[in-house]
Subunit: 176 residues, 2 copies
DNA sequence: TGGTTTATGTCAGCCATGTTGACTTAATTT
DNA sequence: AAATTAAGTCAACATGGCTGACATAAACCA
């Protein structure tokens, strides 16, 4: 696909067209730019580049499954629901709402389709029978795995190319 | 915000509720699961966890600017456009279309607003006067930096927590 | 020169997926 | 028995993708 090369092209543009040539004067004015660099971390330009890479990564990462989903009449929202039900089998609807950070109504729309079409099953909670625990059906599990496959391949390739990793933890969730 | 802790909770659930306990039988059936692991890479379970982390990362990464954008009556689409115009000042409309992977009409809607409200300027190309080169205005640059700030902080925190990095290249764009 | 292609802009409408607000039902808690 | 909670649903609306059609100006080409 051409878009991947386009991404490369523009990521490379970063070097050809260094953003801090313009940015430096402004950083002096606003002054909060270098705050992040305290402790000898990466310069702001590199962090900006990283942000850009994250955009491209996510765009491409979701691109493969999106194409598969289209054949099923589903969208990315269905993927997210199916993924978490598959990976955290038996979770409650309320759990899913918190994970996805969307409203009950938004979730309801896609969840109903997945249930009606036999990808997800519900089961009343044993302790609290108000709760609807969600489980993937065999069909649901199969689709979830099919959607995950290209992403797994992409990640494996990326991590392999990144070289042997030291043991590291992800700090994305530490509040800035 | 509570959602960040929720994310942690569910990422941790991965360990409490190992997905391969159920997944293993299926992997034997489908057989393509371990393909990614050739070459001594991470096991599929870890890659799945990584995929999940990428979802949470992107969700939280875009959350901060989204809140700021709402005050301006803008959305995430405006952010993306403004970001790339700011970082790659002088790019053509066609370039932006390829970067963002959206249609001319979708871009047009948000670009028009950004131009009308004085965040982006256009200038006919010197060599080819059909081209409209895009530049941020001072106002546009200021907003772009304000939107980038929380993301920079997040990234700096994440990378710092990840520890001193060996020189590594991002292989997200290498086709699987 | 005149016809074709290219870069951009625009109108109109559709679809997916997010939002609020109001309300129901069933089950649990007080 | 009353209040709270988990879930489901209806209606209306906003954002930001999409397609298709078409207009304009500039560049290119024969």
């Amino acid at each position: 696909m051409a878009d991947i090369n386009q991404a490369k092209k523009y990521v490379n543009m970063t070097d050809l067209n260094p953003p801090l040539a313009r940015g430096k004067a402004a950083d002096a004015k606003h002054g909060d730019g270098s705050r992040a660099a305290k402790g000898g971390a990466l310069p702001e330009a590199k962090l900006q580049e990283f942000a850009e890479l994250l955009f491209f990564a996510y765009r491409d990462f979701t691109g493969d499954p999106d194409a598969i989903l289209a054949d099923f009449g589903f969208g990315r929202a269905h993927h997210r629901v199916l993924h978490f039900v598959n990976r955290h089998s038996g979770l409650r609807v309320a759990d899913l709402l918190e994970i996805l950070n969307i409203t009950k109504q938004s979730l309801g729309r896609v969840l109903k389709q997945l249930i009606d079409q036999g990808y997800i099953m519900q089961q009343a909670g044993a302790a609290d029978r108000r709760e609807r625990l969600l489980f993937p059906t065999e069909r649901g599990r199969a689709l979830a795995e099919r959607l995950a496959a290209p992403q797994i391949v992409r990640l494996a390739a990326a991590l392999e190319a990144a070289g042997p990793a030291p043991r590291r933890r992800c700090a994305f969730f530490s509040k800035p």
